[in-house]
Symmetry: C2
Subunit: 332 residues, 2 copies
DNA sequence: ATGAAAGCGCTAACAT
DNA sequence: ATGTTAGCGCTTTCAT
């Protein structure tokens, strides 16, 4: 049985409240006593019980970071930023992976709620965020939200996709397809709008048959690419909704011996570290991942520690085009 | 203020102990009362407080998975297996990243201990595991351990490195270097032993100057490769202690325009998903990642739920050579 | 079948 | 400066 403050108190013939004071560095304990309390705590191998502490303090000093998929390095990189930012402010972070399942998301949220985390950062996809608001704790959503009871941090998806599409056009590609995902309708909408408007802005036609949607994975990227080929409509470039999809397309294109970037142009989204490897050299729209994680954690913790002063807010960050060799420069 | 069982009791004019019984599905509550208790709980939006529950039950139904670096997909893949296995058995998993810092590891362990997790799965590197044993809770170490108070799961590092080296020899490479890491001495030792013995078994000389050690990262892989080049001793192949290192070496070799696999052979360790991408095609020694995570979680949870029956044990799994195009087949 | 009471380990008034 | 007491939300005897 792990020793408690009562054990320490007993060993010294004093009360546990004095021990508590000493251990928490509160005043009202003689230096001498404090010293010996600390010593016996050490001797006994005392470890404070955060559970009990949390029960009385009504806070767990813990936040949850819930994402759909840690297999995507994108979320891992954000998680690191969240983790270190939270840690620096004395908060623990619990990482949860919902595997793109809404069911699982609800389960995880319930669990976190039961464990009385002090707040939640979540990549969630629904339009209706009421179930998040009803949690009664601060939530930062890494997607746009219309709900004033929530904060959100996201990038300008429209601008990102616009830049991607425009760049492909400037490179000289003729028919540009879009491969994305149905899993995150909000993100899809922003990006496909950007894609469409860039086409229009450059006098291109938008052909809905050149849009294929699946999941956010290599496999799905490959599959969508095959599907597009199967339509028979020619295309020589593709904007992908994230880098995992782009890597899948890349894989299939290599397999088909379509030369990249000469015959085929490719651009991804996120700038996961794999995109930057020399074997990959994937052009992509980089998200400020560290900044996203850091801002999310800081905002959430502000919301937790000072709920009165801190207001919910929606932050929009800017993505950035990173050119690598999967696209070719315009030869005019 | 979140409603408690007392609120439910009050609303119904009964005691909270009856509410507790009803909510936990214990017998001794009339079906009718139970029904209305469940209903009011629903109405009030009651969420059980896992903190309070944990305090009286003395278990948190939570395990911690502590690894050095989630930037390495290897650990992410194991984490997923741990997570799903634990989840299926009703346990939550807390993921912790120590960033290869022993300091940070101690901090995380302390935190987990204070939060009264029921057990820990950890990738730890020390020879002396007494500080893990002294935690007084079940620990599964993903490294060998001499301590009978701990369980461990690892692969046969010697065999893996032997197979890697032997394969390079069979491919016809002449001078085989080793690039590894000082961060995990136990793993290093097993693997470098396997490397040496394979060399010896094939009548090759072991040259310590062909061994470079750094960290487990792309950057370090590149650096070590440069260091080896700087020695002036020729080498035409390298066994890498993990895939991240191998990718770093790969990067540098490409940059130097050394042709892979014709002029230069490369083999990694772990088989992270990047190794299998067609742009990469890294030959590697695959670890049974899912099995590692699953076994670790199952063993740990057995240890937790049935400490009497379950004994600590050391499990050694077998790695497997996966041949891809970064090595060339022997032309005899 | 239900209630009363104790206690998990801790903090925080309120005494003294 | 130190002790006493109550209580956080819950489970669990032990009564009734």
């Amino acid at each position: 049985m792990a020793p408690t403050i009562k054990d320490i108190a007993q060993a010294l013939g004093i009360t546990h409240s004095t021990v508590s004071r000493a251990l928490n560095g509160r005043e009202g304990v003689s230096p001498k006593l404090r010293q010996s309390i600390l010593e016996t705590a050490e001797e006994l191998g005392y470890t404070p019980n955060a559970i009990a502490r949390g029960l009385v303090n009504r806070q767990s000093k813990t936040i949850a970071f819930i994402v759909p998929d840690f297999a995507n390095p994108f979320f891992v990189e954000i998680a690191r930023a969240v983790n270190s930012t939270a840690s620096a402010r004395g908060f623990k972070t619990i990482l949860c992976d919902t595997q793109w399942s809404h069911q699982e998301e609800l389960k995880q949220i319930k669990m976190m709620s039961e464990n009385r985390v002090d707040g939640i950062i979540i990549k969630s996809f629904g339009e209706d965020d009421s179930y998040l608001v009803n949690l009664g704790l601060p939530v930062v959503k890494l997607n746009p939200t219309a709900d004033p009871g929530l904060s959100s941090i996201d990038i300008d998806n429209h601008a990102g996709a616009f830049a991607a599409t425009e760049y492909l056009i400037q490179c000289g590609y003729e028919q540009i397809a879009y491969i994305g995902s149905l899993l995150d309708p909000q993100t899809l909408q922003g990006r496909i709008d950007g894609y469409r408007q860039a086409l229009r802005a450059h006098g291109r036609l938008y052909d809905p048959r050149l849009v294929a949607l699946g999941e956010y994975s290599l496999e799905s990227g490959s599959r969508c690419y095959q599907d597009l080929l199967a339509t028979g409509i020619p295309f020589d470039a593709v904007v992908c909704e994230n880098d995992m999809i782009a890597l899948g397309v890349y894989t299939s294109a290599l397999h088909d011996q379509r030369e990249i970037p000469a015959q085929f142009g490719l651009i991804g989204f996120d700038d996961i570290f794999i995109a930057g490897l020399p074997m990959t050299q994937l052009t992509t729209i980089a998200q400020p991942k560290f900044q996203i994680g850091e801002s999310a954690a800081n905002l959430l913790i502000d919301l937790i520690v000072d709920p009165v002063q801190t207001k919910n807010q929606s932050i929009i960050l800017n993505p950035e085009l990173v050119v690598r060799s999967t696209t070719r420069k315009l030869v005019k």
